[in-house]
Symmetry: C2
Subunit: 137 residues, 2 copies
DNA sequence: CTTAATCCCTACTTATTTAGTATGAATTAT
DNA sequence: ATAATTCATACTAAATAAGTAGGGATTAAG
């Protein structure tokens, strides 16, 4: 399973924000209620989306969140990388320090690399706009 | 992470068998040693590969395993599905009984479905033969 | 200027999955 | 008979996923 609830929920809340973009700042409480996701859990996804420059926020009463870009400029790849950390389908590809010692001679590495490329290419090519317009197939 | 050690090790041991196909039945002990994988762990992968009809086996002394088909007839998809259970990138797609209640109205399901298709298409198109001949990119 | 709603921050908990270990029975060539 | 093998099952430890919990900081609204 590449993609956990973190990434899936992040995508849904960004879509929710996109669909309520005309309402100014939207509170997480409303989003969590509409999406039927725990408020406290969704709160934990926000720092990473903010760090990625995807959101404007307003603190305090009647505060909330707002998309900071046009919907066409959010790719699924960016959203998922921000929340999941990596989209690599095998550990061998995670660019952590703990590289596989078999790396050099490994016969199977090329297929994982190619699979990774295919996944990234697809996810980087789909935007929130595509999903809203149901252009995803 | 879609693919765990189960699938990766299974692939490596099938490749090892392919490369020693001229030696008749090859013992797991030899394979595990060459591949530097715990014998006891690899043993646990075998039942699923056998159930999938990928191997001939010989029990008892000087027994072992042997590929039961030409290398071109083992796709990566088949190997990984047999050992991993599913290649679905999100839980929503696992055809278990616990289907997501949002399924009907879910805006994001189509992208997961398409991603799943892309992954499967690639993995079903690569065989052991391709890997041995390094045709995988 | 107080209050209530909100974002923000950090720690904790529980369930599931992953990656093995461990023990030993059944089988069979030597 | 023996030793090397597959085969079967149970157990364990570590990591990850998924969520809870509590409260501090900020600010619009009354």
């Amino acid at each position: 399973m590449v993609i956990s609830t973190r990434g899936r929920y992040a995508l849904r809340l960004l879509l929710d924000l996109a669909e309520h973009a005309d309402e100014g700042f939207v509170s997480l409480k409303d989003i969590a209620w509409r999406q039927d996701i725990s408020l406290k859990y969704v709160e934990q996804l926000m720092p990473q989306l903010i760090a990625a420059g995807m959101l404007d926020t307003a603190r305090g009463k009647s505060g909330g969140y707002r998309l900071s870009r046009p919907v066409g400029e959010y790719s699924l790849g960016e959203i998922l990388r921000a929340t999941e950390g990596s989209l690599a389908p095998v550990k061998c590809l995670s660019t952590d320090e703990n590289l596989c010692p078999r790396k050099e001679k490994c016969e199977t590495l090329p297929v994982w690399t190619e699979l990774d490329r295919i996944i990234s290419d697809y996810l980087d090519g789909v935007t929130l706009k595509d999903i809203i317009e149901q252009k995803n197939q």
